[in-house]
Subunit: 316 residues, 2 copies
């Protein structure tokens, strides 16, 4: 047992990322039931939707699960009140100041984890009292840090700087990258893209199939003057790229983005005009699988790799 | 012994990157003498300088060493003729079409390795007949790919796509990242930044000290419309960033860059107006050491980590 397994009370230190439009109760409960940690992504949910999702998740699993709340969410007070009222045991916060809610949540016995993209933000999260951090590298899908530090460089740096345990995120999709994350100093991994391509993910079927079809090089970090976000290439992403090449400011990009593009792409399946948030690791995902199968493959593959360290390839 | 050790005839599959202005015969021979593979970076050398460097390197070590040649180098015929004449056993090529020189070099018994930033270029290099590829991620210093694929995502993807062995580069500076690279499928690592900060590196002392002082987040990929290159932040890098934010085209950036900036920064020690090429991993480098000490630390640390796989942190 390592510190992340102990902290969450889970069999495997594999966390399914809370993702807008993709991770509802079906995915979260499936992952938790298999022994990992499932997360409901509250960023795309109205308060009454989140309440319903938590109730359904609790009915579907007796195991620990979490809710991810972006700290800039407009109705955050309602989200947090629901989380506390319904006894959610673990909260992952992201995109905001960890001092805002950490102490309050912890006073209700909730474990709090904050997502960071740099050593500086990791130290701030630790000072705010979080139980662990997710160190998320440049290769991750969706919203991303301005430092552009990759998982390979971020995880050792954050591990060295903090006392609390580190969960690695960004670029992790198979047993090899799970082992790499642990080698770098992580005690857990958070995986997003691979879980988008599961049966239980609430992503639109067309988006799941697009993720499976993606090749290396098909994503890029866009909308940097606004908020950096990693997107799959499509008509919308190309419009953004063209505007950025001309030096578009955040206002212009905000107009181009408009409202509801993420829902349109990931939930409604508009593969050309929607915003398709996914990580670089999508290039290596080649099947839509049950979430339990994904967890099993990661655990078995990881165990096999660590046992295989006596192979001549690793011994020198 | 793995395939990279066999291919080069070296004790440890640790390659010191060929770097302009930083890796002459003193660094290359020191690394080769310790059991890794040292590389002379020919991209910043006039033909007569390269000849002199190879002669000195051969006098300083009886072990295998290599020369790195950027394929866009203007006097490349002279470089290649010198390499063949003086019996250099291994050539690393980069930044150009691997079909141009691979067959010719191999017909003289030279091992050829090409540096790639994507699966597409890796397949082209293999088709050109190279003996191995270096898969270099976005976090690497200096010239970089347009795909922005990180080491964590690039190495597994290239390993899966190729039959020839893969050397991982980008973000590798300590034993943890060496093990991560091997976990991802590499059979060797190429390390640049850490070797810039060695006694034997020909980098200016002020640049070495700046590398040691660097923190996570201090580098960025600049000059993308021209050729993407990872630079340490300084007055020059900020001018470039400002121009890029206004949508500067390649011509404007080329004028801003001018001539001789890399030499000015890395070799002459102008830390504000020079071009300081270095990787993200510079944030974790905290001492200027003898090259042999670096190799020893990496080898001993790696062995200790692989033996430590029975630790509860790794066993779940």
């Amino acid at each position: 047992m390592n510190r992340i397994q102990n902290l969450f009370g889970i069999a495997y230190p594999i966390v399914q990322a809370g993702m807008i439009w993709c991770s509802g109760w079906e995915l979260a409960s499936a992952v938790s039931n298999t022994g990992g940690l499932g997360i409901i992504g509250a960023g795309s949910m109205y308060p009454e939707v989140l309440r319903d999702q938590i109730i359904k998740c609790k009915a579907a699993t007796a195991k620990p699960f979490a809710v991810n709340v972006p700290l800039l969410y407009p109705s955050i007070e309602e989200h947090m009140a629901t989380i506390i009222e319904l006894g959610v045991p673990i909260v992952f916060t992201s995109a905001g100041n960890p001092r805002a809610w950490t102490a309050h949540l912890k006073s209700h016995g909730i474990r709090v984890v904050h997502v960071v993209s740099s050593v500086k933000f990791a130290l701030k999260a630790q000072a705010a009292g979080v139980d662990a951090v997710v160190a998320e590298g440049f290769e991750a899908g969706g919203h991303n840090g301005r430092e552009e530090t990759t998982t390979m460089c971020l995880v050792p740096a954050v591990s060295d700087a903090l006392d609390v345990p580190v969960i690695a995120a960004g670029g992790i999709g198979d047993a090899r990258s799970v082992l790499a994350a642990f080698a770098l100093g992580a005690e857990g991994v958070q995986i997003g893209s691979r879980f988008v391509a599961t049966i239980e993910s609430s992503a639109h079927q067309a988006f799941k199939e697009r993720v499976v079809a993606a090749n290396e090089g098909d994503t890029a970090l866009r909308l940097k003057p606004l908020t950096p976000v990693r997107l799959l290439d499509n008509a919308f992403a190309q419009k953004v790229a063209a505007a950025e090449a001309e030096g578009a400011d955040s206002e212009t990009l905000s107009e181009l983005l408009g409202r509801g593009r993420a829902k349109r792409g990931m939930f409604e399946g508009d593969l050309e005009e929607g915003e398709l948030e996914i990580g670089q690791v999508s290039g290596q995902i080649d099947a839509i699988q049950p979430a339990a199968r994904v967890v099993e493959e990661l655990v078995n593959g990881y165990r096999s790799l660590t046992k295989g360290m006596s192979d001549p390839k690793f011994q020198w």
